[in-house]
Assembly symmetry: C2
Homo-oligomer: 348 residues x 2
DNA sequence: TATTAGCACTCCAATCAAATGAGTGCTAAC
DNA sequence: GTTAGCACTCATTTGATTGGAGTGCTAATA
C-alpha cells in the first residue's frame, strides 16, 4: 500500500488534532477539520489503511486514532525539512520571545541555570542544558601558587575564560624559586595547546625537564588534568520538571515518579547529550520520540535537543522534554532562536 | 481537661499506628494494640476527649482518628527529649548504616551531592543539604594573576581550603611589577582576616595605599567580595524528590507538582535553612510540621533539619522532607549520625 | 470504481443504587 | 469508672444501566 497525498493529509490532520487535544481523533472530526471534502466514511477507510501501515494506532476497537511513534517520526521529519527550506520565518518571529533574552553572566553555571529556567517557563515543558564541553579548547594560562607549607593551588584558565582549580598536596616543601621555575616550565610548554594534546609523551618530557622535581610535575599535571576533566563528565542543569504534571498522560503517579527520577539522576540525559553531540548534523536539532530512547521511563516522552557552540570548539546541548504530543514546531523554533542567542553571547 | 497518663498512652498509640499504616486508626485497633486492657468503648470516650483537646482529628463522622499537627508536635517533642537522655543508643546503632559512609571528596560540591543522595536512598524520603556558609571563615590566600592584556584572575583560598575565583577586566594594562605590589598589598592586609571584617573602611584604606592604582584595587576587592559572596546565597543540593510518590497522601497530581516545584525552586528551602541556622539550639535538630512552615505547598509535609559544622565556623544544614507521618525516630537518628560523620570529615 | 449514507455493533465513561463494613456516639447495665 | 450493645453514619465498593462517540461493513449512488 502506498502513502499517497490524501493519506498524508489525513495523517497530518490526525496528528495536528491530537497534538492540540490529547484525545483520540475520530473520522467525523477529520472530515470537517480538513478541506478535503470527504465524508467520514471515506476517512474511515483511509484511516483503517493508515493503521495497517503503522502510522496511527487505535487504543481500542471503537475509539478514535492516535499517532504512533512512526507517525510522529514522519511528521517531524517533514516539518524539519520544511523549516530548513523556508528559513525566512527566522526574521518573522525573532522579536516574539522577550523572556528568552539571555543576560550576560560572568559565571557560566549561573548563565546555564538561567537559560534552562527561561526555556522551561517559555515552553511549559521540562528543559535541560549541558555545560559546554571544553574538549577542543585551548589552555590559556596556568598558575601554581603555594597556599601553605605543603599545599599548592593550581589555577587553569581555558580559552573562553573557563576557570578551573584544584588543590595539590605535596610531600616536600617547595621554595619560591622552584615554584617559579615550575610555573615557567608549565606555561611555556602548555599554553596554547588544545587540552587533548596533553598526553603521556608530553607529560614524560615535562617530567624529565623538571629534573629533581619530576614527581611534583607529575602530581601537578594530574591535578590539572583532573580539574579539566572534572565536569567533562557533563554537568547538566534541568528546570521545570513539574511541568510534566500539566500533561495528563504523564501525570499519573507511576510514570511521573519514573520521569522525575530519570530527570534527577541525569545519567540518561548525559548519554543523550553525548549522543546528540556525536550525531550532530545539518541543523543541529534532533528529535527523539518515545522508544527511540533506550530508557523505558521516557517511553511516553519526546525530547528535542539542539547543539550550541560558544566558539573555541566549546559545544553543549540544550533540550526540551515533554509529552510525545508536544508542539514540535514551537519547540524547534524556540530552540533555534536560543541557539543563535547563545552563539551571540560568546562575542561579548 | 487534662492530658493524663492514659490519654497520653492512647495518643501515642494512635500516632504510632498511623505512622505505620497511614490509615485512620479506630478504637478497636487501639484496644488491642496497647497493653492498657481497655475496651474499645472506653478508648472511644478518651479519643473523643483527645479530639476536643485538638491532638487528633476525625476526617469524617464515622472514621477513625488521625494525628493533628498539634498531636505530632507533642509526640516529636517528647521523642526528642527522650533521645537526648538515653544517648546510649548512639553506640548501639552506629554500625547499622553502611551506605551512609561518606567518602572523603576533594571537591566540596561532589561531597554534598553524595551526602544528599545517600541520605535519600537510606531513608526513602527526599533530602537536601546546603553548602556550608563561609561566613566566619578566614582568608588564607589571595592571588592576582594576569591572564592576558586586560584580564586578571583573582583566586581566593579560604580556611577549609575552599577555593573561589573570579575574572576581572581592567581598563589599563598592568605591568608585572605593579601586579606583584598589588599581590603583596592584598596578602599582607587581608590574610588571616575573617571575611566579615572586610568592610568599607578597610577597602578605603587599601585604596589609599595603592596610590595611582586605587581604581583597580577597588575592582579587585569587589571581585573578591563577589566571589566569596557567590554562593553565600546558599547553594542547596537536593536528592530523592521522586520518593514523595511512595506516600499516597503526597502522590496526588496537584500536590506532587507543587512539592516538586518547591523543591526545584529552592527558594523555600533557602529560607528554611537560614531559619535553622539562626535558631540553632541544643541538639542542632529541628522539626517543622505541616503548617509550621510558611509555604502552603508543604502543608502535608514535615521537614527535619540538622545543622552540621565543618570547623572554622563553617556551618551548613541538611534535612529530610517527607510526609507528616514520617518515621521521625529513624530520621532523627540518621541525621545525628550523619552530622557526626560530617564533623569527622573535617579532621582529614 | 470511488464515494457515501446508513445501520448494527463495540466499548468507554458516567451515573446511580444497593450492599458492605469500619467506626462512631450513646445508653443502660455492671 | 468501665463495658456491652445497638442504632447510626459515611466512605468505599460493586454491579447494573445508560449515553454517546466511533467504528466496520454493506448496499446504494455518482
Amino acid at each position: 500500500m502506498e502513502l499517497d497525498d490524501r493519506k498524508m493529509k489525513i495523517l497530518t490532520a490526525v496528528i495536528k488534532n491530537y497534538l492540540e487535544t490529547g484525545e483520540p481523533v475520530g473520522s467525523r472530526t477529520i472530515s470537517k477539520y480538513t478541506d478535503l471534502n470527504l465524508s467520514s466514511a471515506t476517512i474511515r477507510n483511509e484511516m483503517a489503511d493508515l493503521v495497517e501501515m503503522g502510522y496511527i494506532l487505535q487504543p481500542h476497537t471503537s475509539a478514535g486514532r492516535i499517532p504512533s511513534d512512526k507517525g510522529y517520526r514522519l511528521y517531524v521529519d517533514r516539518m524539519m525539512a520544511e523549516m530548513t527550506t523556508q528559513m525566512d520565518e527566522k526574521n518573522k518571529e525573532v522579536e516574539e520571545l522577550k523572556g528568552l533574552l539571555i543576560e550576560k553572566e560572568e559565571k557560566m553555571d549561573a548563565m546555564l541555570k538561567q537559560v534552562a529556567r527561561s526555556l522551561a517557563v517559555n515552553t511549559n515543558y521540562a528543559s535541560m542544558i549541558s555545560a559546554p564541553s571544553v574538549s577542543g579548547s585551548k589552555l590559556k594560562f596556568i598558575q601554581l601558587s603555594r597556599v601553605d607549607a605543603n599545599q599548592l593551588v593550581a589555577v587553569v584558565v581555558l580559552e573562553g575564560n573557563i576557570i578551573k582549580n584544584n588543590m595539590i598536596r605535596v610531600a616536600e616543601e617547595l621554595d619560591d624559586e622552584t615554584l617559579l621555575k615550575l610555573n615557567i616550565l608549565l606555561n611555556t610548554h602548555l599554553n596554547g595547546l588544545p587540552i587533548e594534546s596533553i598526553n603521556l609523551g608530553l607529560i614524560a618530557s615535562l617530567k624529565q625537564q623538571a629534573g629533581i622535581h619530576s614527581d611534583i610535575v607529575g602530581d601537578v599535571i594530574d591535578a590539572v588534568a583532573e580539574s579539566i576533566q572534572e565536569d567533562e563528565d557533563l554537568e547538566i542543569y534541568t528546570s521545570g520538571a513539574n511541568n510534566i504534571f500539566k500533561y495528563p498522560e504523564l501525570a499519573d503517579g507511576q510514570k511521573a515518579s519514573e520521569i522525575i527520577s530519570t530527570f534527577e539522576e541525569k545519567q540518561m540525559l548525559t548519554t543523550l547529550v553525548q549522543n546528540t553531540l556525536a550525531n550532530e548534523e545539518r541543523t543541529g536539532i534532533q528529535v527523539y520520540i518515545g522508544d527511540e530512547m533506550q530508557d523505558s521511563s521516557m517511553k511516553d516522552c519526546s525530547i528535542v535537543t539542539a547543539t550550541y557552540e560558544l566558539g573555541d570548539g566549546m559545544k553543549g546541548t540544550l533540550g526540551i522534554i515533554g509529552p510525545k504530543r508536544m508542539d514540535y514546531e514551537k519547540v524547534v523554533g524556540t530552540l533555534k532562536k536560543l541557539m543563535r542567542q547563545l552563539e551571540e553571547v560568546r562575542k561579548t
